[in-house]
């Protein structure tokens, strides 16, 4: 498995790399480009409570459970039972793993009060013990936590130093991948006893600091001989799944982009965005002052995503999910149904709950788990309470980076603290996002209205018009503002203008009616005239008919008379007939 991993890396980077052993710790393998050097000791150092014991133990446990590499954990600080108990909450069952011969915990107890030193000695006993533990389970991984405790129990520093040097050489000869932990020392040294002098291949520094009462854990690769590695400080988190390091700053900008579009859930807004909506995998910022309906826009978007049978993840940093659901019902957006069918997930947390980086790590993990198509963060502004603007910006850059890579559309909402757009740059995110919608209060004519416009929307035709943004019982709508002689009219001014126009229409309608009636009348008059003429014509015709009938009658009678006369004269013509 390990070899396979390296081969992948090799082909990817195309330069020779030293073999690496994946730690299995989320994110750490990405920073180190595949793990820690195989068959060599790595030093993890840091102050008390920085997580070095846990990190090294996770290395062993992941090795045993995920990479089929048994491991030995030699503890100089905690007893095996204590250790097992401490990590049960992380789902690490040390007892079971030991029974299965995948793991061995060896607790080295050093108590100065019961030890006397006299004359020459060496640490061969430790070597034998470790060697025995390694051989008994065929271990590939070894942790020494914290080997410096030897210095607390033994006084002969000369011997200890020589033996430590021998120990590290011996570990290399054994071919095990080892982690040695060390407590951070005073001054410039990374460990109290200068272990970094002995371990020269890979040194990882852990740090736990508290700024503004919020603690953040960070990790930095101090050195990694023969390998590229991330040099930044990376935040890491200890949670119910162990350690998660977030390699959040990606090194390149070579992500796939999609031309697929995602509807915003507000038809009128889609119309403004080239009639199609946002780009899939793009980022959208909705900013505006308080009460301008940012959450409503976000909820509409969430609703639309779920309606299309996709998944949406909603990070609420201000309102509780129940509040949002209740409030959105009032505008006919029923989010509960999507929560019920598992397509919508709310994740609400107080911004002050963790440090900024922990938030990022937490979000990262939830996103990884839920695999949403869209993510909403409402609002990002609240994060500023726990970090500086630049920290928030750097966090968001990394979040956007990550989401773009995963082709997840993201919508942020941001509260503008003042109305001057140019001065506040919405935590500097605005330059990062693909689309920026601005909802503004417009106070005019003794009332407050909402105006919305698109500040930018990369890669698509978009309307440059200010639309009036109205929230109705049926949802959100955008209405064209009235462009009157005195400028843009909104709210009741627009309504008044509309009414005025309506009045005009009624008047005009009236006029049209009058004309219609006149035409009607004229037609009726004409029709009457036509009827008159018709009857005149009929009487004339009658007259004519009467004359011709009389003539006919006369003709007939005279013919009859002629026949009768002929008969009387006894002619043959009539009898032969």
């Amino acid at each position: 498995m390990t070899n396979h991993h390296h081969k992948n890396k090799k082909t990817k980077f195309n330069y020779p790399q030293i073999p690496k052993t994946p730690t299995g710790i989320t994110g750490l393998d990405e920073i180190t480009g595949g793990g820690i050097p195989t068959g060599r000791p790595t030093l993890i150092c840091g102050g008390a409570g920085c997580g070095k014991t846990l990190m090294s133990l996770e290395f062993i446990v992941r090795g045993a459970t995920e990479f089929n590499e048994p491991g030995v954990f030699m503890a100089f600080e905690e007893k095996a039972a204590e250790l097992a108990m401490n990590v049960t909450s992380l789902g690490f069952d040390l007892v079971k793993l030991q029974e299965e011969k995948k793991l061995k915990v060896d607790y080295v107890h050093i108590d100065r009060s019961e030890i006397e030193e006299t004359g020459e000695y060496d640490l061969e006993g430790l070597f034998i013990r470790l060697g025995y533990a390694i051989d008994s389970i065929g271990a590939k991984r070894v942790v020494l936590d914290t080997v410096e405790n030897l210095f607390l129990g033994l006084t002969n520093q000369g011997i200890l130093r020589a033996e430590l040097r021998r120990l590290f050489t011996w570990l290399k000869e054994k071919g095990v991948t080892a982690i040695i932990t060390g407590e951070r020392g005073e001054g410039n040294t990374f460990t109290r006893q200068g272990l970094e002098e002995y371990v020269s291949d890979c040194v990882i520094l852990l740090d736990h600091r508290v700024i503004n009462q919020i603690s953040t854990r960070r990790l930095r690769i101090l050195k990694y001989r023969g390998s590229l590695h991330g040099t930044n400080e990376y935040p890491f988190l200890i949670d119910e799944d162990g350690i998660a390091v977030l390699p959040v700053t990606s090194l390149n900008l070579e992500k796939d982009v999609s031309t697929e579009r995602v509807s915003s859930g507000i038809p009128a807004l889609d119309k403004m965005l080239d009639n199609k909506g946002f780009f899939k995998g793009g980022s959208v910022l909705v900013s505006g002052s308080a009460g301008t309906g940012k959450t409503s826009i976000a909820a509409c978007f969430a609703n639309e995503i779920c309606k299309q049978q996709k998944r949406c993840l909603y990070f609420a940093f201000e309102e509780s999910p129940k509040q949002i659901i209740r409030n959105m019902k009032s505008i006919s957006v029923n989010l509960q149904q999507y929560i019920d069918n598992d397509s919508l997930l709310f994740h609400a947390s107080r911004p002050t709950l963790h440090g900024l980086e922990q938030h990022l790590v937490a979000m990262y993990k939830i996103i990884k788990n839920f695999k949403p198509d869209a993510v909403i963060i409402d609002p990002i502004t609240n994060l500023v309470t726990i970090g500086t603007v630049s920290e928030v910006k750097s966090m968001l850059i990394r979040l956007i980076d990550f989401l773009q890579e995963e082709q997840i559309t993201v919508m942020f909402t941001a509260l503008s603290l003042n109305s001057v757009v140019n001065e506040q740059t919405d935590e500097g995110v605005s330059s990062l996002v693909d689309s920026w919608l601005l909802v503004r209060d417009i106070e005019f004519n003794g009332e407050r209205n909402r105006g919305m416009y698109i500040m930018k929307s990369r890669g698509m035709r978009h309307s440059n018009q200010v639309r009036e943004f109205i929230i109705t019982d049926d949802g959100i709508d955008l209405v064209d503002v009235y462009l009157g002689p005195e400028g843009v009219l909104i709210g009741s001014a627009r309504e008044a203008q509309r009414l005025q126009e309506k009045t005009g229409e009624v008047l005009r309608g009236n006029a049209v009616n009058m004309k219609d009636r006149e035409i009607d009348r004229k037609r009726k008059m004409l029709e009457a005239k036509i009827a008159n003429l018709q009857s005149e014509f009929e009487s004339a015709e009658d007259e004519l008919n009467k004359i011709s009938v009389e003539e006919e009658l006369i003709k007939k009678v005279s013919e009859n008379n002629r026949d009768a006369l002929t008969k009387l004269r006894g002619g043959d013509k009539a009898s032969s007939k």
Binding site: D106, E116, T118, Y121, L126, I128
Partner: protein
């Protein structure tokens, strides 16, 4: 185990016949004969032969002398070249 003759049960952990181990054993025998004659037993454990025994007595240095009895357990590491320290470590009062 609690026989009155063997008041002291001593275990010496070594790893092969190294100079230090040999010195330690020689020194130990000498001190025991001097101060604990007839009331001790010495068990030498070679960890190269029985590595599994290292964990039980919490051995990390070689050579290590462990006083199993009387309790509490005491450990003396090194070649036992300093007699006074060994005696103090074993809680044995020198005869003279």
């Amino acid at each position: 185990m609690d026989s009155p003759e063997n008041k002291y049960e001593l275990r010496l952990y070594v790893a092969g016949k190294t100079a230090k181990s040999v010195t330690a054993l020689t020194n130990l025998k000498k001190y025991c004969e001097e101060h604990l004659k007839g009331q001790y037993v010495i068990e030498v454990i070679d960890l190269l032969v029985q590595p599994q025994l290292a964990e039980g007595d919490q051995i990390f240095a070689i050579p290590t002398l462990v006083r199993k009895v009387p309790e509490p357990i005491r450990k003396i590491i090194g070649d036992l070249s300093n007699e006074e320290k060994v005696l103090v470590g074993l809680n044995i009062r020198p005869v003279n």
